[in-house]
Symmetry: C2
Subunit: 386 residues, 2 copies
């Protein structure tokens, strides 16, 4: 009989460790206690750090018996919380569990004394909740939560059962603490990622601003590159994983970073560049790669920066790579970069309409651009996505 | 008797979940098994992902009995590993545990048949290790490790004991898996942090390079600022926490980022700037703050960028803040920035020696600089740290 639910609960407590999302399992545990142990109701209050209060996370049992939603939280000044926070258990309760009937007996024998008023107040709370037993869960002296159990439908709780619930509560507490630590670490990782991306964006934007004719260019090329990549995975089933997309994101943001090494007089010249100036200007993909080269994690992104001015037919720069020899990441940025350049006003020509720019890309497919990628941006245009 | 060690081991297995560094606890478990259960020796082999092999992580027991270091690893083709990887247990061993004596009986009854040759080979491995029992640990179908136990010093293993070891092995496995997941997440966080710092350094260096007279300036100011902060915490017991130091790191790296908005003709002008040019140049702290302002996580770092040209007596820019009104992060960068500027050659003057620069800072303590911070850099100089 006892063994019957014990195994289930033990298994659940163990599984929780790896789930790192213990809410569902806590609910399952409360349900199992109610159904298998035949307890009229069971509730679990858990400490919530942000709100600095104890929240009724689960309440199971028949309506009228289970703890109602109105008691959804217990603040730090609740007598039951205070009772367990102060650890009166050492003096009044040998094993730290508050059993209503046992405590009543203590009060009968000992009407006054240290801790007695607090015990009385705590018992009154149990009466409010219709609870026969309250088991606290600690993690390093800190009260993490409370398990409240109603009466058993038949007979009383046996010592053995209480021991089991104490062990179970401790397991659950540890699993929850573990999940919290995990969650905090995940949040930190997310935060760091956002910080990295946002700082890169800020710096890229600042560098962008040097080039008077390309305001907002970087942001548009980045969005466009990521859209093209999405299209390529959908249409051509290219296996572009998370890692590739992250590299593409960084590479698009930083594709013109090398322009920081180009004199302002060239960057902002009104009218076409002469041969000498063109030569200088064409160094920017190489300069960008040199700037980022000390960062091993950016290896793939650097390919995008370095080769985004290569052309499919091999007539591009800096290395004159051809077709498949051009890294995919660079070929994508190349199309996005050109599309944005064409649709933006330059000192020496007016902006093309999107339709005209797409026509231009169509014409240059197979010469300047990889045909698959050209097709991808054409599709995006037709679908009204750009 | 049994209870005696059970509680200890159960407690250890639970504690492991939160330790996230289970090596010590695994060792403790092996020792407890040997001492309390009175087993001649106990060894634990754990799967190592990078090396794709099973490594003898702990081996306890008397010399001559315990598994020697020579058997420190089992590759995937080891018959014992193969036996458990293929899960022959379902057919030959009801509960998945390989007990030497029981298996010998099976072989006596059934000399040929499916799985029999593999069982024979596996038993031969147990003989090599002098093991009476081998308990596998799985995580989602994957063989994570093996617990090998020698003979009990008195009597045989009881069913109850084996059941307990199976449960224990499963607990340990889960704790280890959990620790691994945790460790992986921590590594990822570290990696992301490095990526963020390195990218910031690369971009800051590139911007640095625009200003021909300040080669390496950013890196030197960053190191100096961090040294000053260290000195301040030691000497003045200032409570500079991890968060502050990280902000100072970023702020020092980016303190001149606003120079990207200053025309090259001013940045690189040989000879002193005229009034108009000086006014432009003095916009760089403000411009830097504007560039970084969209990044909420850099709130404190932005203070360092924005106010690193304020002066203690209120005669600085952009806001003319005075004394304590100047954020500490900015006051630190101000001293480090000036020290580096003084000791570097500029178009209009030669570089000062470190001694001369320190004299200069001493003179300006209380007017240009916060006296405590001036003293900190003087101390660093006296100690030969700069």
């Amino acid at each position: 009989m006892v063994i019957d639910y014990k195994k289930e609960l033990e298994q659940a407590a163990k599984t929780m460790i790896l789930v790192h999302e213990p809410d569902t399992l806590i609910k399952m545990i409360a349900r199992t206690i109610v159904q298998k142990v035949k307890v009229s109701h069971a509730g679990i209050l858990l400490y919530n750090k942000e709100k600095n209060t104890y929240i009724l996370t689960v309440s199971r049992g028949e309506p009228g018996l289970k703890i109602p939603a109105g008691f959804a939280r217990m603040d730090l000044d609740n007598p039951l919380i205070q009772f367990f926070k102060e650890r009166y258990d050492k003096r009044l309760l040998g094993d730290g569990v508050l059993v209503y009937e046992e405590a009543k007996k203590i009060l009968k024998r000992q009407a006054i004394g240290e801790g007695i008023p607090e015990l009385k107040k705590a018992l009154y709370q149990l009466e409010i909740f219709g609870a026969a037993v309250c088991i606290p869960a600690y993690y390093r002296q800190e009260l993490m939560g409370l398990l409240l159990l109603g009466n058993k439908k038949r007979g009383r709780f046996r010592r053995e059962e209480l021991d089991f619930f104490i062990a179970l509560t401790s397991d659950v507490t540890m699993a929850i603490k573990n999940a919290q630590l995990f969650h905090e670490l995940e949040l930190e990782l997310e935060k760091k990622h956002r910080l990295f991306i946002h700082t890169t964006i800020a710096l890229a934007t600042a560098i962008d601003a040097k080039d008077h004719y390309t305001h907002g260019h970087t942001a548009r090329v980045t969005n466009l590159s990521l859209e093209i990549a999405k299209k390529l995975s959908q249409k051509y089933k290219k296996n572009l994983d998370e890692k590739f997309l992250e590299a593409l994101h960084i590479a698009s943001l930083l594709h013109d970073i090398g322009k920081i090494g180009i004199p302002e007089s060239i960057l902002n010249k009104e009218g076409p560049l002469n041969e000498e100036e063109t030569k200088k200007m064409r160094q920017h993909p190489h300069l960008g790669a040199v700037i980022l080269q000390p960062i091993p994690e950016l290896k793939e992104a650097i390919l995008g920066v370095k080769y985004h001015h290569e052309r499919y037919d091999g007539s591009g720069y800096p290395e004159g790579l051809k077709a498949e020899a051009i890294p995919l990441i660079a070929a994508i940025i190349s199309v996005a970069d050109t599309f944005d350049a064409l649709t933006t006003q330059r000192p020496y020509r007016a902006a093309l309409s999107k339709e005209e720019a797409i026509e231009e890309i169509k014409r240059a497919s197979g010469s300047q651009f990889d045909p698959e990628i050209s097709q991808a941006i054409i599709d995006l245009y037709k679908e009204g996505k750009i």
